[in-house]
Amino acid sequence: MAEALLRVERVAKHFGGVVAVDAVSLEVAAGEIHALIGPNGAGKTTLVHLLSGALAPDAGRVLFAGADVTARALHERVGLGLARSYQVTSLFRGFTALDNMALAVQARSGSSLRFWTPVASERALFDEARAVLGEIGLAGRERVHAGQLAHGEQRALEVGLALATRPKLLLLDEPMAGMGPDESERLIALVDGLRARVGVLLIEHDMDAVFRLADRISVLVNGRVIATGGPEEIRANAEVKRAYLGEEQPA
Amino acid sequence: MRRTALALAAALPLAFAAQAADKVKVGFISTLSGPNAAIGVDIRDGFNLAVKLAGGKLGGLPAEVIVADDQLNPDVAKQNADRMVKRDRVDFVTGTVFSNVVLAIAPQVIESKTFFIGPNAGPAQYTGAQCNPYFFSSSWPSEAYSEAAGQYVTQRGFKSVVFLAPNYQGGKDAANGFKRYFKGKLAEEMYTKLGQLDYAAELAQIRAAKPDALYVFLPGGMGVNFIKQFVASGMSKDIQLVVPLWGSDQDIIRAVGDPMLGLFSLGHWTIDLDNAANRKFVAEFEKAYKRLPTGYAASGYDTGLLLDAAIRKVKGKIEDKEALRAAIKSADFKSVRGDFKFGANQFPVQNYYLQAITKNADGRIVHKTVGTVLTARGDAYVQDCKMK
């Protein structure tokens, strides 16, 4: 395997006396889809916060594309190509779907300290925004306010916003939460289409999706990675079965 | 936006009334709300009494007095002055209590060639180089009361004195005046925020300084609170408190009561001054308002008398500003304070009395004239005034 795109070295985080993430080490290679699974409260979302820069770890390092980004802010990591989506949908609800997307495009296309030229006249922004909207299946919904989209569409836009920043690595925090089967299927196809282009760290409860998509899987239990390996390996891992899969067999 | 434009349009004609040539308009801007409202109310009542006794006229012309509350806020005062000068086109502006308000509005009033008559504060600036034909003070130059206090404290032989005033122009004028006549040692010179109400911290400092006497220059509500708190602190037995008349006047006596007894004050007027004008004023004031007049009321009343006399002298031709000015300056009336004339800077030249606060025959707390501290005193800056 090539040099890892994302390399997590023994990062830890505790809140008060509660250890949320306990010396987790992890690697995601470029173009790889790496799933992170584990029971509720295992520390998955906290780990995403640590990797994306929303929270600072108490210990350990995060390396991205060869550079130590542990001290870098959220927005700086996005600039380097490390983007995330949220488990709880976080959009610009008062903006249209197209404007949502255009904002994400704007973030990486030159300075936004421009005070005079109307955004509306910047065609390049909107062309690209439309393209991403098409990619996530929201073509034709451009003029709808994000707050008024259907739940599944909002989830797609949630992923789309991260995608529009043109990341090298996507951190997807339960992208399929609350989706119907058709919508899930579309999203699975979308993520599948990213393979080889974009690295993905996928957190998901839908085990069907995980085992279909993941190149490798890490299992997080009580803040610790107890196993990492290919899907078959994980399926066969006794410790994983005991700690996690035993209660929740994949469909 | 259209609706507000309509509201504006509706407001305009209402406000803009036709100008009558045969009456005199007085713009009365005063502090009529807040802790110092009593001062403005007394000046207003005194002034109105003079107008009322003259049959609602000033110098024979029907008088219209437009009253506005400055809320002790110079910005509000400024807008009121603007309205009175530009819209109502008043002939005189008076009523002001505090020197910061005077300093805010006087330039504009003067510039429009409207006479400004200060019935209370007369900032030192206007006594000297900045003196102006349109600026009169019918009260006293800002530093005079404190000069008298300095003189009295020196005469009494107090060696160590604490001075306390608000941190504003009037307070600084007071310090200048006091130091000009006080020959001893100023143990402590303290300034507080204008409008401060709790003097606990200052009282502790005074206790530590152990002075013989304390000269306190705090008008209105500030004075009320200070004296109450001073008495409660137990220092009144050891330290002689000296105040200006208006730091101890009826408004303060009403609020503080018996602890006022034994204080000494300095003033240009006392309720017991023995002249016909004053006897009439005190009697009429009490009859009209059911309370004893203060120095503020006396000043307001005198302002009314002054205008009445001046307008009568020019036979109602108030458009002739030069003649009117000369008539005001001659001060051809019987002032309640006795002898009264204007100096070259149009500020009063008058006596300042030492007053003791005592109970009178019917048991009321009043000021009693004890002696004259300064005689025919003008001010220190009159020679800087180049006006003729």
């Binding site: 994306s52 929303a54 802010a73 959220l74 700086e76 996005v78 983007a83 995330r84 949220y86 976080s90 610009f92 609800r93 008062g94 903006f95 404007d99 904002l103 994400a104 704007q106 973030a107 990486r108 300075s111 936004s112 300290l113 421009r114 005070f115 005079w116 109307p118 955004v119 916003l161 991260a162 529009a164 920043t165 | 936006m1 507000t4 434009a5 509201a7 504006l8 407001a11 305009l12 209402l14 406000a15 803009f16 110079p74 910005d75 400024k78 807008q79 603007d82 309205r83 530009k86 819209r87 910061n100 300093l103 805010a104 330039p107 504009q108 608000p166 941190n167 504003y168 122009q169 925020k193």
Partner: protein
């Protein structure tokens, strides 16, 4: 707002002195200038509060900084508007940048209070400047000198200058909120976390917005000093910040003309009601309360809502 309405209002405002002067309504020309200056100040706050979502309770400090710059320079003999006004804008902007840099570390109510704290500090500094009037304030011997044969002492000339500046400022604001920068600050107000997560350094943009608002407020302050020919610390007191905030909320938070509507409504309401009763604050308070309860989006929202529905 319909497209032509701003132009109609502008035309009416331009025509006003032509009617008012012959009728001798000089007072109302000055009053209208005053309203427009407050409209400018409120609009500058609207940029920060309405578009940027930063509830600043210390905006009067920047208005005051601008006003004091003009007054102090004049006291020192510099009367040129070309020197004093840009300096007022620059100083107020720099002050806002410095204060904002600290305040923007906090959120929500803490931000409201820390901006208030800084404004109060500036207020007491103004009180402490005895050389420049201290508590008393400072009279301006004249209005700023503009050159070109224009005399700002003339109320009509001053009126037109204020009108031109307000119109230009509103136009610039319109461009700004429609440009990239405006998009960014509006989006930050909508969802700051997400802006961070798609790669915007939100702190920096908020700071720029805060400083811009401060600079514009400084311009309003420079005009206000000229309008009153007088400055005093009261300009910086927290109630002034409150009044500006009330104007913005009253007019409509985040509507381009919200600040203007609020300034007009509040000042006209005060002027009219105070003409009828000394208890005018009761009437003004009741109207404000009614607006909060029944027109939550302010006057601009009310006007727009009616057309939409």
């Amino acid at each position: 707002m319909r497209r032509w309405l701003p132009f109609a209002v502008l035309a009416a405002a331009a025509a006003f002195p032509l009617v008012a002067r012959p009728l001798g309504w000089d007072f109302y020309i000055g009053f209208a200038s005053r309203i427009m200056i407050y409209a400018l100040a409120a609009s500058s706050l609207n940029l920060v509060l309405g578009y940027g979502g930063m509830v600043s309770f210390g905006h009067a400090a920047f208005v005051g900084a601008g006003a004091y710059t003009v007054a102090v320079l004049m006291a020192e003999g510099v009367a040129s508007a070309w020197v004093a006004w840009p300096l007022a804008v620059a100083l107020a902007g720099a002050l806002a940048a410095a204060i904002g840099a600290v305040c923007l570390r906090t959120r929500g109510v803490y931000f409201i209070m820390i901006t208030l704290a800084f404004a109060q500090m500036i207020y007491y500094i103004a009180v402490g400047m005895r050389a420049y009037g201290g508590e008393e304030g400072l009279n301006l011997p004249t209005r700023s000198q503009l050159g070109f044969g224009l005399d700002l002492k003339d109320d009509v000339t001053f009126y037109y200058l204020v009108l031109a500046i307000l119109a230009a400022a509103l136009y610039a604001l319109r461009r700004t909120v429609g440009a990239r920068f405006g998009r960014v600050i509006e989006a930050i107000r909508e969802n700051e976390t997400r802006m961070d997560a798609i790669g915007f350094p939100t702190y920096r943009y908020k700071l720029v917005c805060f400083a811009l608002g401060g600079a514009l407020a400084g311009l309003a302050g420079a005009l206000l000093a000229n309008q009153n020919s007088y400055v005093n610390p009261n300009l910086l007191y927290w109630t002034q910040s409150g009044t500006l905030m009330i104007m913005v909320i009253l007019g409509g938070v985040g509507y381009l003309y919200g600040g203007v509507l609020g300034a007009v409504a509040l000042l006209v309401l005060e002027e009219v009601v105070s003409g009828y009763t000394i208890h005018w604050q009761l009437g003004v308070g009741a109207v404000m309360l009614a607006i909060v309860l029944f027109a939550p989006r302010g006057l601009a929202g009310l006007a727009q809502g009616r057309r939409d529905g």
